[in-house]
C-alpha cells in the first residue's frame, strides 16, 4: 500500500468552512426578528430578557409578560414564557444571542452567566439587573419589590406581596397548634443520584411555611442520601419535585430507595410530589405552593 497523499480530506474541510460561511449566514438571519434600528424606538418600548424561572414569573405577575422578548430554558411558567425565544440554560447564555433579541433590559437571576457574557451586554449599553439569590420568604418578597420598582409597578408589587402574606397568614392560622410532620425533601436528578435537603435550603423554608418540619436538619445545603441518614431522619412525609419522582420511577421507586421503607413515611406511603418550578422558585406563586404543600401535609385542616 502506498501512503495516502491525498488532500481530499482537507478539501472537504475547506468546503465545510465555505458552506458554514454562506449557509449559516443565511439561515442565521432568516428566522430572526431584525433588531430595532432606531435609538428612539429602543427607548420607547421596553424589551426584557429574563434569565431564571422565578424572575420570569415575577415579571409576568407584574403584568409585563408581553415585554419579555426572550427568556431561558428554566422559564416554563406561565405557558407564554415558554413560547419566547429560548436562550438556553441561564448559566451559559451567549451575549450575542441576547443582543440579537435587541433587549434594553436583562433581568438576571443569581448565578446567570457566564460573567463575561453579562459584562459584554453592559458594554453594548443594555441594562443588566442582577438579582440576589432567593431561598426564603424575605428574599422572595425582596425580589418582587426590586422588580416592581424596576418596572415602575410598585403598586402591583405591593399587592402581590400583600396577597402572598394574606394567604400565608391564613395557612398559618389554620395550622396553629398542629403538630408539625417531619418532611424529608429528596432531590433526585436521575442516574441514581439522590440528595437530601438540609438547613438553609429553599425546601426548608417552604416546608416550614407549610406547617412541616425539615427532617434531617443537621447539615447545611444538600447532602447525598444514605439509607441510615434517611432512617435516622424519621420522616413522616417524603417530598420530591415531580421531575424527581419521575426520575426515581414513581412512588414505588421512592419506596424502594435505600432506607425509605423503614421510615414512617415509607410505611404509610406518604410521598408527595410538586412541580419543580412551583416548589423551588419562590416566585409569585409562593403562597400557592405553600398552600398546596400544607394541604398535602395537613389534609384534615387546610382546604
Amino acid at each position: 500500500m502506498k501512503k495516502i497523499h491525498n488532500l481530499g480530506p482537507i478539501a472537504v474541510l475547506i468546503s465545510v468552512a465555505i458552506a458554514v460561511v454562506f449557509t449559516a449566514g443565511c439561515s442565521g438571519s432568516a428566522g430572526e426578528e431584525r433588531p430595532a434600528k432606531s435609538e428612539q424606538e429602543r427607548e420607547a418600548k421596553l424589551r426584557i430578557v429574563t434569565l431564571g424561572g422565578g424572575a420570569t414569573e415575577v415579571v409576568y405577575a407584574l403584568g409585563h409578560g408581553d415585554t419579555i422578548v426572550a427568556t431561558d430554558a428554566s422559564s416554563t411558567y406561565p405557558e407564554q414564557a415558554a413560547s419566547r425565544a429560548s436562550l438556553g440554560y441561564y448559566r451559559r447564555v451567549q451575549a450575542e444571542g441576547i443582543i440579537a433579541q435587541a433587549p434594553n433590559l436583562v433581568i438576571a437571576s443569581d448565578g446567570s452567566g457566564p460573567p463575561a457574557a453579562l459584562a459584554q451586554l453592559g458594554e453594548v449599553g443594555i441594562r443588566v439587573v442582577e438579582l440576589p439569590e432567593v431561598e426564603n420568604l424575605a428574599q422572595a418578597k425582596a425580589r418582587i419589590t426590586i422588580l416592581a420598582e424596576l418596572l415602575r409597578e410598585e403598586e402591583r408589587g405591593r399587592a402581590l406581596i400583600a396577597g402572598i402574606d394574606e394567604q400565608l397568614v391564613k395557612v398559618e392560622r389554620a395550622l396553629s397548634g398542629r403538630p408539625r410532620p417531619r418532611v424529608l425533601f429528596i432531590y433526585a436528578r436521575g442516574g441514581g443520584t439522590m440528595l437530601v435537603a438540609g438547613q438553609g435550603t429553599a425546601a426548608e423554608a417552604l416546608i416550614g411555611l407549610a406547617g412541616g418540619a425539615l427532617a434531617a436538619p443537621e447539615h447545611q445545603g444538600f447532602r447525598p442520601l444514605t439509607a441510615e441518614a434517611v432512617i435516622g431522619a424519621r420522616p413522616d412525609v417524603i417530598l420530591l419535585t415531580s421531575g424527581g419522582l419521575e426520575s426515581m420511577g414513581g412512588v414505588e421507586g421512592v419506596l424502594g430507595a435505600p432506607g425509605v421503607a423503614a421510615t414512617p413515611a415509607g410505611a404509610q406511603r406518604r410521598i408527595i410530589a410538586m412541580d419543580d418550578l412551583l416548589l423551588l422558585s419562590f416566585g409569585p406563586r409562593l403562597a400557592e405552593a405553600v398552600t398546596s404543600l400544607a394541604k398535602s401535609l395537613h389534609p384534615e385542616v387546610v382546604s
Binding site: I4, P9, A17, V20, R92, E96, A119, V124
Partner: protein, 360 residues
C-alpha cells in the same frame, strides 16, 4: 520521480490549504453569529479599530464585532492551535498515536481542581469573610476562581507525574504514562465524588466546564491567555526535528546528538503550558488534541516539521468553525462546543480511517 521530494511539496501544499481553512474559519467567526451584522459592517469595525481614522457603523455593531466576536475568534484560534499542538507533542514523545494531554492526567487533574473549586465556592460562607477576605473581594474574584483552579490543577498534576517518573537524571516515559493513568483514576474519582456532592447548579457548572466552550472570551481573557499560548507555540518548532529522532527510540536519538532528557522535559513542559492555559480559558474541549494530529499524520506522515504546524492550523480553524456552529445552530442559545468538536471530528476521523483501511 524518485529525485523529487513529494512529501515536502505535499507538506507545503497541506500547510497552504490549512492556512486557507484557518482564514475562512476566522472569517466565519467574525462574520457570523446570532446578531446579524453585514460583512461590510464587520470590515468597517475592524478598520475603525485597527487603522486610524475609521468610524464604526453603530455602537451596538461595534460592540458585537469588536468586544464579542474578535476576542472569541482569537481565543478560539489560540486554544485550538494549543490543544492540537500539545496532542501532537505528546503523541510524538510517547511514540503512541493515542496519547493526548488527558493521558498524562493534565486534563482530568484540571477537571478535579475545578470540581473542588466549584464545590468550595459553594461551601464558602461569604458573610464570615474567611481568610480575612471581604465579601466584596470574594464576589469579585469568583469568576476567576475556576480558570485559576484549572491552571493550578493541571500544573500540580503534571509536576506530580513528572516527579514520580523522574529517576536520577532521567525521565522515564513508561513510568510517566503509568503515573498519568493513576493520576487520571484519582482525579476521576475526585471529580466523581464532587459530582456526587454537587447540587444541581454546581453539577451543571461542572458538566459545562467539562464540555468546554469559548463563552468566557473577552479582551481581558485574550490578553491574559493568548500571549502565554503564543510563547508556548513559538517554542514548538525547535522541538520538531528532535521529536522525529525520538521516534527511533531514546537511545538512537541520543546517538544522533539529541539531548534526550532536555527534549523530554521541554516537550512535557510546553505541552502542559499549552493545555493548562487552554483549559483554564475554555474548559476541557475534547477530541481536538487526540484527533487533529492523527488526521494530519494520515495526510502528511509522521514528520514533525509538517505535523506540528499543520496540527496547530487544523486545530485553530477547527475550533473556530465548531464555535461558529455552536453559536448559530440553536441561536440565540448556544451548544457546548465539545459536543460539536466530537460530532464533527469523530465521523470525519472514521471516514479517514476507513479510507486508509481500503488502501485508498
Amino acid at each position: 520521480m524518485s529525485s523529487r521530494r513529494p512529501r515536502w511539496g505535499r507538506g507545503g501544499l497541506l500547510l497552504g490549504a490549512l492556512a486557507l481553512f484557518v482564514g475562512l474559519s476566522a472569517l466565519a467567526g467574525l462574520g457570523l453569529g446570532a446578531f446579524e451584522v453585514g460583512p461590510g459592517a464587520v470590515v468597517e469595525v475592524l478598520r475603525a479599530h485597527l487603522l486610524p481614522g475609521g468610524s464604526t457603523p453603530s455602537p451596538i455593531v461595534d460592540a458585537v464585532v469588536w468586544e464579542i466576536r474578535v476576542p472569541r475568534t482569537i481565543l478560539g484560534l489560540a486554544v485550538g492551535a494549543a490543544l492540537a499542538t500539545s496532542g501532537a507533542l505528546f503523541q510524538g514523545l510517547f511514540r503512541n498515536p493515542l496519547a493526548d494531554p488527558s493521558l498524562l492526567g493534565i486534563t482530568l487533574g484540571a477537571a478535579a481542581a475545578v470540581a473542588i473549586a466549584v464545590l468550595g465556592i459553594g461551601m464558602l460562607d461569604v458573610s464570615h469573610a474567611p481568610l480575612g477576605l471581604t465579601p466584596e473581594v470574594l464576589t469579585a474574584t469568583r469568576p476567576y476562581m475556576i480558570p485559576l483552579a484549572a491552571f493550578v490543577g493541571s500544573l500540580v498534576t503534571l509536576l506530580g507525574v513528572v516527579a514520580l517518573a523522574s529517576g536520577p537524571g532521567r525521565l522515564d516515559v513508561t513510568t510517566l504514562l503509568l503515573a498519568g493513568i493513576a493520576v487520571n483514576a484519582i482525579a476521576g474519582a475526585v471529580t466523581g465524588f464532587a459530582i456526587f456532592l454537587a447540587d444541581d447548579a454546581q453539577l451543571r457548572d461542572l458538566t459545562f466546564w467539562t464540555l468546554g466552550g469559548l463563552g468566557g472570551a473577552s479582551w481581558t481573557v485574550v490578553i491574559a491567555v493568548v500571549p502565554l499560548l503564543l510563547a508556548g507555540l513559538a517554542f514548538v518548532p525547535t522541538l520538531a526535528r528532535r521529536l522525529d529522532c525520538l521516534l527511533l527510540g531514546e537511545t538512537e536519538a541520543g546517538h544522533l546528538g539529541v539531548r534526550v532528557e532536555a527534549t523530554k522535559r521541554s516537550v512535557v513542559g510546553v505541552g502542559a503550558l499549552l493545555v493548562g492555559v487552554s483549559v483554564s480559558a475554555a474548559g476541557a474541549i475534547g477530541f481536538v488534541g487526540l484527533v487533529v494530529p492523527h488526521l494530519v499524520r494520515l495526510l502528511a506522515g509522521p514528520g514533525h516539521r509538517i505535523l506540528l504546524p499543520a496540527s496547530a492550523l487544523l486545530g485553530a480553524g477547527g475550533i473556530v468553525l465548531a464555535d461558529v456552529l455552536a453559536r448559530t445552530v440553536v441561536a440565540p442559545a448556544e451548544l457546548p462546543i465539545g459536543v460539536l468538536t466530537t460530532l464533527l471530528g469523530g465521523p470525519f476521523f472514521l471516514w479517514l480511517l476507513a479510507g486508509r483501511r481500503r488502501g485508498r
